[in-house]
Subunit: 329 residues, 2 copies
C-alpha cells in the first residue's frame, strides 16, 4: 500500500470499496452499529474467523468461504441466514488488487446466499503480521419454525443422509499449497447450504440434526454428534461418496477422505420413514444433488461411530487426531 | 504452545477455558450457532476487531477493550448491549498464561457490562503471524425506545455534552509502547458506556446523537458528526476536559489531546432545554461523573467544527490527518 503512514487514506479507500460492493439500505446508513428491524422469531447467532492459506484456490477464495462458512453454521441450526458483519484485519503491504478480488467475491457470495453484509470494520497491522488478510464474519439468522435441530434431538432409527461427495475443499486447498498437480483440477465444494436445508424444513420433514463437514471432515462431524447425543451411528463404508480423483489425491498424500474438510457438504438426521422424500427434496437443489443415505442410528448408548465394511466387518470410525490439515478453513 | 501439531488438543483446552470463564445458558449448549429468544424490539448489530499493541497497558488490556469497544458501539446507537460473539486468532507459541489473563479480563468486562458472550471461534496461525492475539467481537443489542439516535437527528440549538476528560486511553497505550514513564501513571479510560446512556434514555431526555471518542479522538468524532449532519458545531476550547498529566504527556510527544483515542468517553447531543437535567443524570453514573457542556450546534450548513478560543478567536478544529497513533484500539 502506497499509503504508508496514511492510515486514514487507506481506511477511506477501503470503506469506499466495501460500501460500493456490499451496498444495501442498512449498510448504506453508515452507522457504527447497523439497526435491524424487529423480528417475531428466535435468532441464530454465530461467528467464524477465516485464516485460510492460500487466499485463492480452485473453486473459491477466502472471501467466498467467509460468507459460506458462516451462513452454513446458521443453516445447520435451521436458521435462514439474513445478516452478516465483516471484520477485516489487513496486513500493511497487501496489494489493493488482492483485497478487491476478495471483496468482490464476498459480495457475490453474499448475494448468492441471500444475506446482506450490514456492518463492518477494518484494522491494519504491521507488515509481516496478519498473513495478508484475515476475515471474521458473524451471522444472524431467523428460526422460522419450532424444530429443535441439534444433536440432542437425534433418535434411534433415524437415517443419516449426506448431501454430496466429501473431501474436495481440503484437497483443492492442499493441492495449491503443496504445489501438487493432479490429472484434473479438484475444485473446492464451498457453497451455501440454506437452499437444501430450507427444502427439507418447508416440506415439513422432521429434521433432527444437521451439521456441515468442516474441520475434521465427516469423521469428526459424526463423532461429535455421536458424543453429544450418546447414540451409536452406523455408516456403510461403501456409501460414503468420494470422487475418484479426490480418493487418488488423498492416497498420494496419505490422507483419509473422511478426515478432509468440506465447505459445502452436510449430514442430516431424519426419521427413516421420511428418507425417500428427503432425498428427493435434496436432490432437486444444486448443493444437494449428490445426496444419499449413509446409514442409521442404531440401538446403543456408547456415543460411537461404526463403519460397516464391504465384507461385513465393522470397525470404529475414530475422531481424527492431530491436525493433518491446518488452516484449510 | 507445547501442543505443536496437535491443533485439536489446543482447541479443546481453549474451548474449556472459554467455556469455564464465559459460562451462560446459551453458550453452555455448545452449538455452532447460539439460539437467542425472540425480541419485540429493533436490534443493533456491530463488529470490531481488536489488534491493540501491547496486549496489556495501565487500566486495561486487549480482552477488556474487546468488550468495551463493541458494547459502546451498541450503546452509541441507543441499544442496550445483550450478546457478544468472540472470535480469537491466536499465534502459535502464545503463552497459555497470556491467553488466560485476557480471557478472564474479557469475562469480567462482559459481566460488568451486562452482556453474555454466547458464541465463539478460535483459529491458530503460524508463529510470527497474528501478533499474539487478535480478537473480534460482534455485538447485538436491543433498541427499547423509538428515538432515532444518529447524526442526521442533530438539530440547530442542540447542546454538545461530553462525558469526561479526553486522551487517557491513547496516552496509556503510548506510554507502554514507547517505554515512557510519566510522573504519575496514566490509566486508560476504557469502560462500558451503557449506564450513562441508559440514564439519559430512561429519564426521557430527547437524545439526538451519541458517539464515542475512539479512533481519531474528539476531533475526528465531532468532524464526522458535523459532516454527516451538515451542521456547524461550536466548541469552547477551555471547556474540553484534559487532565494535567495527559496534557503534559501529549506535549512531550507533540500530540494534540483532541486527536487521542479514548475508550470510555462520548459526546451527547441533546436539546438545550434539557442540558441541566442531562448533566445531572450523567454525573450520577461512574462513567459520566466528569460530564460537562462543550458547546452547541450553531446556525449554518457548512458541516464544520469551530473551536472558540480563550481570547474570542475562532478556528477550525480539523480532522486529524495521517495516523499518529496506530493500533491504539
Amino acid at each position: 500500500m502506497a499509503h504508508g503512514g496514511g492510515g486514514r487514506l487507506m481506511h477511506e479507500l477501503v470503506n469506499r470499496m466495501f460500501g460500493a460492493v456490499f451496498t444495501n439500505p442498512i449498510l448504506d446508513r453508515r452507522h457504527d452499529a447497523a439497526v435491524l428491524p424487529a423480528s417475531p422469531h428466535r435468532l441464530a447467532f454465530t461467528t467464524d474467523s477465516y485464516v485460510v492459506h492460500p487466499l485463492f484456490f480452485p473453486g473459491g477464495d477466502l472471501g467466498s468461504m467467509a460468507v459460506h462458512g458462516t451462513v452454513n453454521d446458521l443453516a445447520m441450526s435451521g436458521a435462514r441466514p439474513q445478516y452478516l458483519s465483516a471484520g477485516f484485519i489487513l496486513e500493511e503491504g497487501l496489494p489493493m488488487e488482492t483485497l478487491w478480488r476478495l471483496v468482490v467475491s464476498m459480495g457475490a457470495a453474499a448475494r448468492n446466499a441471500g444475506v446482506s453484509i450490514v456492518t463492518g470494520d477494518t484494522k491494519v497491522v504491521d507488515p509481516g503480521k496478519g498473513d495478508g488478510v484475515y476475515v471474521n464474519t458473524t451471522g444472524l439468522g431467523v428460526l422460522e419454525h419450532a424444530l429443535q435441530i441439534e444433536p440432542q434431538s437425534v433418535a434411534e432409527g433415524d437415517a443419516i443422509l449426506i448431501s454430496g461427495d466429501v473431501g474436495r475443499h481440503g484437497m483443492a486447498v492442499m493441492a495449491v499449497r503443496e504445489g501438487l498437480s493432479f490429472e484434473s483440477a479438484i475444485e473446492s465444494d464451498s457453497c451455501p447450504l440454506w437452499e437444501p436445508v430450507q427444502a427439507l424444513i418447508t416440506a415439513g420433514i422432521a429434521v433432527h440434526c444437521l451439521r456441515d463437514l468442516t474441520r475434521g471432515g465427516l469423521a469428526a462431524t459424526l463423532n461429535e454428534i455421536a458424543e453429544a447425543s450418546g447414540k451409536r451411528l452406523e455408516v456403510q463404508e461403501t456409501r460414503i461418496p468420494v470422487r475418484d480423483d479426490v480418493r487418488a489425491a488423498c492416497g498420494m498424500l496419505g490422507l483419509d477422505p473422511t478426515h478432509v474438510a468440506c465447505e459445502g457438504r452436510f449430514v442430516a438426521f431424519v426419521p427413516e420413514a421420511e428418507v425417500e422424500r428427503a432425498l428427493s427434496l435434496l436432490r432437486r437443489t444444486s448443493a444437494g444433488s449428490g445426496a444419499c443415505r449413509l446409514g442409521a442410528v442404531a440401538p446403543g448408548d456408547r456415543g460411537e461411530v461404526i463403519l460397516r465394511g464391504t465384507l461385513g466387518v465393522d470397525r470404529l470410525l475414530a475422531m481424527p487426531s492431530g491436525q493433518p490439515l491446518p488452516r484449510i478453513c
